[in-house]
């Protein structure tokens, strides 16, 4: 038996429910997407090439500027020192001014600024110190790390 195919003619599928579903999905993904993305950035550093590869051997860096961070009150604050001079608790603005003055006085911004922090200092305080140095125009930020024997964990 031969069945003749008849064109759909003027019957158009109703897309309205599909559009409704797609709109709901679209709104979900729009709201679900993290808007924080736009406000996030990065700080970058290049480790001293002499520090590896290998066993993480000690390298001698003679920085113009050495920033020290000590833990105060189990992470509540950090005691900021620069070249042995105490600037105070969470004195990151003072650190920025100090570094800015040094740069204006002709300090080489390519020379390493070494941040040495006590192991219990919170990461946010280390980043604030790094931020102060970058804002002041220093480009070569290095981190002093304590040497441990391989396999030793914190």
């Amino acid at each position: 038996m031969r069945r003749s195919w008849t064109p759909a003619g003027d019957t158009v599928p109703n897309l309205a429910p599909m559009v409704d579903v797609i709109m709901v999905l679209l709104v979900f993904f729009l709201l679900g997407a993290t808007f924080d993305l736009a406000t996030q950035g990065v700080l970058q550093t290049e480790l001293d090439p002499r520090s590896g590869p290998g066993g993480g051997q000690a390298v001698e860096i003679n920085p113009q500027i050495r920033i020290g961070l000590g833990d105060v009150g189990h992470g509540r604050a950090a005691l900021v020192t620069v070249n042995q001079e105490v600037l105070g608790r969470n004195a990151f603005d003072a650190l920025y001014r100090y570094l800015d003055d040094r740069r204006r006085a002709g300090a080489d911004t390519q020379n390493a600024v070494v941040i040495g922090a006590q192991t219990t200092v919170r990461w946010k305080h280390v980043v604030q110190a790094m931020d102060a140095a970058v804002r002041a125009g220093f480009e070569n930020i290095q981190f002093a790390v304590s040497l441990r024997t391989p396999g030793q964990e914190p």
């Binding site: 797609i22 997407a33 406000t39 996030q40 970058q44 590896g52 590869p53 946010k124 931020d131 964990e153």
Partner: protein, 151 residues
Amino acid sequence: MTLNLAPMVDVMMCLIIFFLLATKLADLEQYAVDLPWAVSAREVDSSELGRRVTIIIRRAEDGDVVAEYVVADWDGRQVTDRVLTPAEVGRLLADRARRAERSDEKLRCVVRADREVMYRHIEVVLRACGSAGISDIVFPANQGQPPEEAS
């Protein structure tokens, strides 16, 4: 007269596919970490970072005494479905550095650390990067002043 909705559906489908893919990719690199704040944090597109290994250091549920290391490859996929020990992080970084060297590519390490973890947990990663020969380190941060200082 009926409105032709087909082009609108096409556009919306494209948008949905975009958001589906984008959110999946962003998922791991945005891994529930309270980032520190930095005024000088430079905004970068993730494609600018190139080939990278992302180490996520987050606080353990019982506080900040122990940090948990989660590692993601350059495509944002988690390397393992469990938390790694510092020694395993070191081995993994060395392995990825060797692979990148074989394919003659520069490898970056993105250290995505919670702002309240202790510096010693970041030290572990820095030391491992030094041993593996990865010199280019990136620290994601929120742009701006810390809220307590900004207010």
